[in-house]
């Protein structure tokens, strides 16, 4: 591990009625690293993300951000800290252009009117800083973009606000080969710029390609938190499906 994590959850529990969804979960995001969050359906990935994003409040446990203990209770607090989530079903409006989408809900104003010039400049700078080369114009309607470009805009939107931690929920799920390449490059670049990136994915190829660390969830518990270079595809798949793999993972009793 390198230094203090940017974001750290300690012993977080989340219970919905009779269902114990998150079980003493410890999760850390380090600056400049891509942390992959993997797990089968129902393992608690989405709940974990929503807890970090402030949509759900944790029932117990501690949240630390940048060395300070915090208590995130609303999406607004999360984004004020610098935590942005890019959801799987892209939250973009087809009838607006790229600039309008990137500033949606947080428009810059000059008096009562919108400050279009500054918004356009900043959108362009942000996309350029991410070396996005595939979008023809920032005034292009979002409907005319390909899936990969749309994902790029959604990610750029998250980066625009000087965020420190970006959580990406299956960013490549609906993309073709070339577009997946584009988005993975972008994910890597975000981490290289010093952000803490969380990549939620089912695709082992993607995970092994860009992630520095892998956190595997199994039935609401963290089965393993390992460096990508120390494990193989097969081991990670076993962690996801059985909760353990050789000497890695949950103790047999807990895994049952």
């Amino acid at each position: 591990m390198t230094g203090t994590p940017l974001l750290e959850l300690k012993n977080v529990n989340k219970i919905f009625g009779a269902v114990h969804v998150l079980h003493d979960v410890n999760f850390a995001v380090h600056p400049g690293q891509v942390t992959a969050l993997v797990g089968d359906n129902g393992a608690g990935k989405s709940t974990l993300v929503k807890t970090v994003a402030g949509i759900y409040a944790a029932d117990s446990g501690e949240q630390w951000f940048d060395g300070q203990q915090v208590n995130i209770t609303s999406p607004k607090e999360a984004s004020e800290l610098g935590i942005e989530v890019v959801y799987q079903d892209l939250a973009l409006c087809d009838n607006l252009d790229i600039v309008e989408n990137m500033f949606l809900g947080r428009e810059l104003k000059k008096g009562p009117l919108l400050d279009e010039s500054t918004m356009e400049e900043r959108a362009r700078e942000t996309l350029a800083s991410l070396s996005v080369r595939t979008v023809k114009s920032v005034r292009q309607g979002v409907a005319s973009l390909s899936g990969g470009q749309r994902q790029t805009v959604a990610i750029a939107k998250a980066v625009l606000w000087n965020s420190k931690v970006v959580l990406l929920d299956e960013p490549t799920a609906a993309l073709g080969v070339a577009q997946t390449r584009q988005v993975l490059d972008l994910v890597r670049r975000l981490a290289d710029q010093g952000l803490g990136v969380v990549l939620i994915s089912h695709n082992m190829n993607d995970v092994f390609e860009v992630a520095d660390r892998i956190t595997a969830l199994y039935l609401g518990r963290v089965a393993a938190d390992v460096a990508t270079k120390d494990v193989t595809h097969g081991q990670v798949v076993e962690l996801i499906t059985a909760g353990r793999s050789g000497n890695l993972g949950l103790a047999p009793a807990a895994a049952l």
């Binding site: 999406p75 607004k76 959801y87 079903d89 892209l90 939250a91 973009l92 409006c93 087809d94 009838n95 607006l96 252009d97 309008e100 949606l104 809900g105 947080r106 428009e107 104003k109 009562p112 009117l113 919108l114 279009e116 010039s117 356009e120 400049e121 362009r124 700078e125 942000t126 996309l127 350029a128 800083s129 070396s131 996005v132 080369r133 595939t134 979008v135 023809k136 114009s137 920032v138 005034r139 309607g141 979002v142 409907a143 005319s144 973009l145 980066v159 000087n162 965020s163 420190k164 975000l190 290289d192 710029q193 010093g194 952000l195």
Partner: protein
């Protein structure tokens, strides 16, 4: 931190260097426009062409259609439709509908008329009370739609019936309330002095030209996306010709009696013009307008972006009903009375038709205040022209119905083409 700490590739190094250039010239801009049309993004073009075709057709068929008197008539007839349609654009933008707008307008106008007749209130109080009545109706509609989640079709259908009852209760069976306040009547029957009319028309064109050119210069200076200068001039001329032309026609004496000259722009025209400019600014230049489009385009995305969706929906219904109130007062001004049947019959369908014909989508997320005015002119031209041709009124219903259907068909087809071509 994300964008500042790392050396960013220069703008020139990215593809964005090229996007700040505009289309190089008129020809290229024209080609872009053609591509947009092919992609199904037709905007106000079908309505504008339709209006031209109607004007030419009626001018050939009737000697009186193109007389100054009839053109002035047509403008006053179109006023109430345009204003009601402009209000409906806000609700249509969200993908909702307001079927009660016609009666909301008549109810509000009745409140205003009764305040003047029975309470002796001055007209500003009465007009404001009328608009406030509209706002209250809109608030109720919006709350029921947004908070309770009843489909707007059902809520406004219920209000369509309920308000009709309120109207009957206030006016009495078969009766009517005379509107003879000079100011309110004057909206339709009085004209601007000729000099003021020219100043108004010239002022609108000059203001538009100056603002467009200044905006273009700022965009060029700051290296933002901009239109070629020739296209900016093209738009200015496109506005100047009809505005100044109309001013010239309306400022000519149109009286049949040489002893009583009638000349000048009817006051309803600057009123509609003011509302058009005001709402265009709200829709295109304010965060509220942006949020309206966002909610209409993708409600979930808007919610996640932190937009208060319920507030936007309630405001849209309030704007619609308040505009309906203004429209009802204009209609009362034109007729000189409000009756129990005001706002009924084809009032609402004319207005919905006007908005849709102008290019507002019934599917939400697409539309402009301008659409309502162009579409309103189309509808008013049909009604006016068929009237001149002495056609039985059933023809009028059939033709207007067909035009509405045609406009909705164009909307549906162009939407399909847009999603196929991937244009917003």
């Amino acid at each position: 931190m994300s964008t500042d700490t790392t050396p960013t590739p220069g703008l020139a190094g990215s593809d964005f260097a090229s996007d700040s250039h505009s289309a190089a010239g008129l020809r290229e801009a024209g080609r872009d426009y053609l591509n947009r049309l092919r992609g199904g993004d037709m905007g106000a073009l079908p309505a504008t062409l339709g209006l031209l075709a109607l004007v030419i057709g009626f001018a050939i068929a009737s000697d009186t259609f193109l007389t100054e008197l009839n053109i002035a008539n047509l403008i006053t007839q179109a006023g109430a439709i345009c204003v009601l349609a402009m209000g409906l654009v806000f609700v249509l933008l969200l993908g909702d509908i307001d079927l009660s707008a016609g009666f909301a307008g008549a109810t509000s106008a009745t409140v205003a008329a009764l305040l003047i007749r029975d309470q002796g209130q001055p007209w500003p109080v009465a007009v404001l009370a009328g608009i406030a009545t509209g706002a209250v109706i809109g608030f109720a509609l919006g709350m029921l739609v947004a908070k309770l989640g009843i489909p707007s079709f059902v809520v406004t259908l219920a209000f369509f019936l309920g308000l009709q009852g309120a109207l009957l209760r206030m006016i009495g069976q078969g009766g009517s309330v005379r509107v003879d306040n000079e100011f309110i009547r004057g909206i339709s029957i009085d004209n601007m002095p000729v000099g003021a009319g020219w100043a108004f028309a010239g002022g609108v064109v000059a203001a538009f030209a100056i603002l467009s050119l200044l905006r273009h210069r700022r965009q060029v200076r700051q290296n933002l996306q901009h239109l070629p200068l020739s296209v900016v001039w093209f738009k200015i001329i496109g506005l100047a010709v009809p505005v100044l032309g109309l001013a010239a026609v309306l400022n000519t004496n149109r009286s049949r009696n040489p002893n009583f000259p009638i000349e000048g722009i009817p006051w309803v025209l600057p009123l509609v013009g003011f509302l058009l400019i005001f709402w265009t600014y709200v829709l295109t230049r304010t965060a509220f307008g942006r949020h309206l489009y966002a909610v209409g385009g993708n409600r979930e995305a808007a919610r996640r972006a932190g937009i208060n969706v319920d507030r936007i929906r309630v405001s849209a219904f309030m704007i619609c009903s308040s505009m309906a109130a203004i429209s009802g007062i204009i209609a009362a001004s034109n007729a000189g009375k409000v009756s129990a049947s005001s706002g009924g019959s084809n009032t609402l369908l004319y207005a919905v038709g006007a908005a849709v014909i102008g290019g507002t989508s019934l599917f939400g997320g697409k539309g402009k205040a301008r659409d309502a005015v162009i579409g309103g002119l189309v509808i008013a031209t049909i009604a006016n022209g068929l009237g001149l041709l002495d056609q039985p009124s059933y023809i009028n219903f059939v033709v207007t119905g067909s035009v509405l259907l045609l406009a909705a068909a164009v909307d549906a087809v162009s939407r399909r083409r847009r999603s196929a071509a991937g244009v917003g």
